[in-house]
Symmetry: C2
Subunit: 397 residues, 2 copies
């Protein structure tokens, strides 16, 4: 195939991060030809970054419609605010332009159905760019689950635990879409970072599916307390009322009987964590202490205080490292975020250029993104269970 | 006060454990005068243990009605199977015999109401013997919460993560009440170990209360897989069908807006943990890595990988150790379970002998035990939210 001309729409934090990374320079045949943001300062910032740091000089746009042009690009990366991901993706799919869409939750299930139906009608390649599916540890765990090391998996936990208080305030102080979401909504607003890898472990859409969920939200006190400390004289910040609870717990039940618990924890002080836990009949993994526990370990005295075995993950690294990562480490890591970005963007480029099926397809995106809207409904109804649509219309079996 | 003559009803695992511990020998004025179990082998085993290890020779009974006699005892410890805790407690309260009741969940909310009403009518002293409320770390955390170190607490997590597969099988192999519970029920069957300490941190029944909960259960595969490995030729075990899911997730919403997540995890291989997490506006605590994170720590690079700060709890031990434990360590630890048993049984004796109010009273017991029946209902209804009765009838405010 000739060069893959790529357009990048959205130049906020994530878009700029991609410009600073090597996802546009590390891949042979990939050329960043167009960048776009409707907020001029972000566009200028990206132009400057690409020119000085990468010697890249793509065309610039403020209206994404001008980028969605097959004469200009062969594929588009959608890295905009959450609200605009799906509408722009649908436009691109209709035009036959392959889409790599960054992660988010959905605002309404109908949006997700529209995305699914558009893809089914157009069959334009679509990939959901969940980089954590390519995390080194997440892939190692997936490899172990597939090899049967965990026996039958009964339950998994994940979280998006990331102190975003400063970033959320940027919505007023500079320009950031999270502000409006935290003021107006209350939901599991960022479910896919650990749900994606867990869904792969549990074969969601390939013999299994999400059936129902319940969500419960704590009160919202973290943001205001932070603002009182950091911006006591800023009237808009000080008067803001936040709908978004500090911690949202979501429990999903799967058709195969497995359960998944997600914790969103973004407005209180804490260390970053994706909190993966895998509970199987033969083994247990806990990411907080980076440790495995295998059948038989219950005979040792340490089972009462596992501290001597914290960080035992590295002992099993060589044995269980995923082939993708073995090859990646051998050939040199690309992109950002500890290599995840290079893998997820590389996979997208590779599939578009070679016509392969996407590893994270529209049905994966639909099931994972649906969590946000369903959790919003559940919280609004006092924790009532909500049912997942079957976006595959039965094909998951 | 003259000697406190104590009767012990129930000599299974926990009852025998108490006999082996020093909770009947370490406390001046306390005398174990009667022991009882309706299963003769357990009674014989306890008699032998007490005689040889402690030189104690209490009267023995197989019918608990014979123990509930004010001429014989001044207080009773109820350490029987879960099903019989409340009925025996109600009998004792009616007779004016102070009750120390071991922990369990309830089978029906009406039982709990009956216990509350009986106490309100008789005012016979009653204490719920949740030893984890006296855990060294739990009390340290309570002390920190009370001092405001966490700011406003928004969410807590706890679990009872304890591989009980061997113990559950004892129900058939020897004699144990858990078997019937795991075969017939599906619920958060042991909620109080970490809910008790969390309830104290959140001032439940003292300005706050549990409002609602939702529970979701994973499939049940751990027990059968274990039996296939360990007892492949045992027909009863091999043919058993277990209702109890491997992992049960329960999320509680409080009147003050706080949320609590409980995880029951007892039929899969894993290390023991009570998994306490405390999320506040000023600090975070995670028991799995025994580590605090304080406001401001988000500025350090380690916030992305907290490993260098694992086990930092001990750095704060001296500063925040609870006064109860400071005194306890100075005067010598008593009882079992790392000292918790000495504190909880000592508190009970002390309150009975001196007429003090019980530190864990009938309203605490009611709210905490109610979780089991409510979780059973919620699971049966597909995760529907269930409402907590207000056992205090408004007095919690």
């Amino acid at each position: 195939m000739k060069k893959l001309r790529v357009g990048l729409i959205g130049l906020g934090g994530r878009g700029l991060g991609l410009c600073k990374s090597t996802v546009f320079t590390d891949f042979e045949g990939v050329e960043l030809v167009a960048i776009c943001d409707n907020y001029q300062p972000w566009l200028d910032r990206a132009v400057e970054c690409l020119a000085t740091e990468k010697d890249l000089h793509p065309k610039t746009f403020t209206d994404h419609h001008d980028v969605l042009n097959k004469d200009l690009i062969d594929a588009v990366l959608i890295v905009t605010s959450w609200e605009t991901h799906i509408p722009i993706a649908i436009e691109a799919l209709e035009l036959g332009i392959p889409v790599g869409m960054e992660i988010c939750g959905c605002y309404d299930l109908q949006q997700v159905w529209d995305l699914v139906h558009t893809w089914e009608r157009t069959k334009t390649p679509f990939m959901f760019l969940e980089n954590c599916c390519y995390g080194q540890n997440e892939l190692m765990l997936l490899n172990m689950v597939r090899q049967g090391v965990f026996g039958e998996v009964s339950h998994c936990d994940g979280c998006y635990a990331h102190d975003l208080r400063r970033e959320i305030c940027k919505g007023v102080l500079t320009h950031h879409y999270r502000w409006g979401n935290y003021v107006n909504r209350n939901c599991e607003n960022y479910p896919t970072h650990e749900l994606g890898p867990i869904a792969k472990m549990l074969n969601i859409n390939h013999g299994n599916r999400f059936l129902t969920l319940t969500s419960t939200s704590s009160k919202s006190v973290g943001m205001h307390e932070y603002i009182k400390q950091k911006h006591p004289d800023h009237e808009v910040l000080m008067n803001a009322k936040f709908n978004q609870g500090d911690v949202v717990i979501t429990t999903i039940k799967c058709a195969g009987g497995e359960t998944i618990t997600l914790k969103l924890d973004t407005t209180l002080p804490r260390f970053y964590s994706r909190g993966l836990e895998v509970h199987g009949t033969k083994a247990y993994y806990n990411d907080v202490c980076k440790s495995f526990f295998f059948e038989g370990d219950e005979e040792v005295e340490e089972m009462w205080d596992w501290q001597p075995n914290w960080d035992n993950r590295e002992k099993y690294r060589e044995q269980y490292e995923h082939p993708i990562w073995k090859e990646y480490l051998a050939n040199g890591i690309k992109g950002g975020h500890g290599g995840m970005d290079g893998l997820v963007y590389g996979a997208f480029y590779d599939c578009v250029m070679n016509g392969y099926d996407m590893p994270i397809n529209v049905y994966d995106a639909a099931a994972w993104m649906a969590v946000t809207n369903l959790s919003e409904q559940s919280i609004a109804l006092g924790g009532a269970p909500m049912v997942f649509p079957d976006f595959t219309s039965g094909a998951w079996k």
